[in-house]
Amino acid sequence: MNIIAIRRSVVLLSAIFLAAPLAHATGMGADDARYLLTRTGFAPDPAEIAEFAALTREQAVDRILSGTRTQPVTAYPDDLNNFIAGKQIRTMSRQQRRELIRTQLREGGTELRAWWLGEMLHTPSPLTERMTLFWHNHFVSSQQKVRSPKLMLNQNLLLREDAVGNFGKMLHAVSKDPAMVIYLDSASNRKGQPNENFAREVMELFTLGEGHYTEDDIKQAARAFTGWSIDRDTGQFVFRRKVHDGGIKTVFGKSGDFDGDDVLDLLLARRETSEFIVGKLWREFVSPQPDAPAVQKIAATFRDQNYEIKPVLRQLFLSDAFWAPETRGAIVKSPVDVVVGSLRSLDADVPDAMPFVRTLKQLGQDIFAPPNVKGWPGGDTWINTATLLERKQYLDRIARADDATRQMAAQRIGDAMSARAAAIANGSTSAPISGEESKDMMANAKRMEAAIRNMDIDIPAWTQSVDHAGFTAETALLAVAPVEKNDVVAGNNKVRALLLDPSYEVK
């Protein structure tokens, strides 16, 4: 028997001896399970906590990473599938155009947001949604400028496809994504008179980060991107050779008759790109202060693995820094964390997410409409005096959302919305609004009322399932001990006290 074989048999032997006691002891426990699931997805319900508590950290991370998806699980509403052709718009009357803007921008926008919120609430892979949202906040486009809900939906599907796939592939694809082409004015970037918007943001925000390029790099790169456009009648990307500048450009000291894809490859070849993205992932998942040497090490893997995202996530989720005690509670929850996480962790049944579209906006994260091309700054800036109060109000509402209260709220909100729609139809307000719109408003009021009525948040049942699983409400909900000393020991008031505690705002 050679030495390696002996070693192996020793290892085997000890494995057999240790197997019995360890099988029970290796599970990471409820606290780690809640932490991991909250950080990598959305706050888990008691059953998910119990399931993951029995796994080791490594097993749990691998299970999360193997469950990711490239397609949504929920169907999106049919009317989001409409793209309105430019030639159709050109033949419309003023009134028809106004109507179109209303249906596309306002109602289509609400449908779209409700669909994605529903996906976040129901997905079996919260990591996929968190990463899709991460890229939405990285490769920013906004419905406010793009206007077409169909193009915004397509961009979401495109980001989802590679959310945990390949960054290089996603960069090339999203740069030619019609919503992006509109959002960063690529369509009007032409030979002879370039529009620098996309060239600047692709360097500053999508790849290198500020300070790693010159103004001249931007001017030259803008020339390479000329000709990237969209067909306004089909909503598809087109390359317009006639307005493309085929001349020699010099970017980062390299010269050639580069086109847009060539410039993107030049950007991917730079070390700064991998470090910029890994640093941003660190802030998303680990802590607000990236550890520079650790980031550089993971960034090297990112480049070596041809910009595959999963190996980076695996390293981050299994890093010492991720699990360190001082990292617990180090990140402020985003509005999506608060809205979706609270509903998921309380095991709420939400057949229609529409009522929460507005909540999310009030809390400061209107999905599909980030404030500008840099996206939501996040971190501590999620909380100011206005958004803190909106959070407390939302949490107070869901903590008190027993059946009777909810039915009353549904009635009140439905009545108020219907009354407004009726007032507008009677012409008793000054706003000039069509009959079509007031009909839509009525339908909207009914949908909102039904959505609130059919929701189910059962806190007594939730408390029972926590007890049954053998951990406490604090463990199920909080990353750090509560700040306010509360004497409430049980039931709904206990849950309400924990949701309103400042410690609930961190993860």
Binding site: E196, P371, T381, N384, T385, A386
Partner: protein, 384 residues
């Protein structure tokens, strides 16, 4: 330790780490913090050349064949410059000598990134210097406002705190009545945590202190225009009317990043700006505060003199800014930009350093030394 004590200990720690000079300056006199500063942020980079128009410069028309404002779209201020006609609501203040126009405001080595450039303005840093907190936050740390004040600052129309980020007692709100109502869900009591949690405890404390001193009974007769910026001005005035002292209000009007189809977009925004500022003046007169208010506009940068192919303009450097108030010395300050001299990126050099404008606010408005806050001496402009 009580939560309040913990928070002030935290504040003191931040202060010392900022700068030993600042911590010592805290003992100095308070200046005239009873005087109000209203900052109006034109977010996205307002195109200065179509706001204050160098109509007598031929180069202006050569650079902007599509976008140049025509003679019937402007009001001449002197033989060289005119104001965009949609800003007509400001003209009574101009005629009364209560509006100063600062021309060519910017800084050396202009950065053309929105985010970096606004950070430079908000922290009053050099172009290549990174400062952690807003310039007004440094001011309040060195020269605290009276403790009974409702807040150091109110912030309306923007989620980011800009010049009051990083520790000032800043209240962000949409509606003062709703603020007081919702504040009941916050209790200020306890005492621990670091990092993210400390930030949340600080904001809770700000809420509790502001809610305690904010009334909600007073309403104003002034009518505000019914658009986004009009509502922002209304919220600001209602809060000021019910507050027990506020040193700064920062209002944001957003949407100036006009790479494409600039004409209509900018006209709409400047209309909102002009109507909003006129209503703001009326309300401040109603409150008896027009003479102790200084209104100052700012923006991350101006836009490129040469228009682009999309009927828009790309990022530029300098822009003109407005200073309004009962005590303002009206008129034009700085030289009219000469479009014949552009830098290698096709942009204008600056005439007035924005830190000189801040220094003038500190020294000539609040009677406070500016050097400790701004980290250097800058030429003052005599607009007040």
């Amino acid at each position: 330790m009580k939560r309040r004590e913990f928070l002030s200990a935290l504040g003191a720690g931040t202060l010392v780490s900022l700068s030993p000079t600042l911590a010592m300056a805290a003992a100095a006199p308070v200046g005239r913090m009873d005087r109000l500063l209203i900052l109006v942020e034109l977010k996205g980079g307002n195109d200065g050349l179509n706001t204050i128009i160098p109509f007598s410069d031929d180069a202006y028309y050569a650079l902007r064949p599509q976008l140049a404002v025509r003679a019937d779209g402007m009001i001449k201020l002197d033989g060289k410059v005119a104001i965009n006609k949609v800003l007509n609501p400001l003209m009574p203040m101009w005629s009364a000598g209560q509006m100063a126009i600062l021309q060519g405001v910017g800084y050396p080595q202009a950065n053309l990134s929105h985010f970096r450039s606004i950070e430079i303005w908000d922290t009053a840093s050099k172009s290549d210097e990174y400062l952690p907190v807003g310039w007004l936050t440094r001011l309040f740390a060195a020269y605290p406002v009276p403790p009974q004040f409702t807040a150091d600052a109110i912030v309306i129309g923007s989620a980011d705190l800009g010049p009051v980020a990083g520790g000032a007692r800043a209240i962000e709100l949409d509606n003062p009545g709703q603020f007081s109502h919702q504040a009941r869900l916050v209790q200020a009591m306890s005492s621990r945590g670091g990092g993210a949690l400390a930030h949340i405890l600080k904001v809770e404390d700000d809420v509790v202190r502001a809610a305690q001193s904010l009334g909600n009974g007073k309403t104003l007769k002034t009518e505000f225009p019914d658009h986004g910026f009009g509502h922002t001005c209304k919220t600001a005035c209602e809060t000021l009317a019910n507050a027990n002292g506020i040193a700064v209000a920062r209002l944001t009007l957003t949407g100036f990043d006009t790479h494409q189809n600039q004409a209509g977009t900018q006209a709409n925004l400047l209309t909102q700006l002009g109507e909003g500022l006129a209503a703001l003046k009326t309300a401040l007169v109603e409150m008896g505060r027009w003479d102790d208010t200084l209104i100052l506009t700012y923006s991350e940068f101006g836009r490129r003199p040469k228009e682009n192919e999309s009927g828009g303009t790309d990022h530029g450097t300098v822009a003109p800014h407005f200073v309004l108030g009962g005590k303002v010395r009206g008129g034009l300050y700085g030289n009219t930009p000469s479009l014949a001299v552009l830098d290698e990126s096709g942009n204008l050099p600056y005439q007035i350093d924005f830190r000189g404008v801040y220094a003038s606010v500190l020294e000539r408005w609040w009677n406070l030394p500016s050097q400790t806050v701004l980290g250097g001496k800058f030429a003052l402009t005599q607009f007040v």
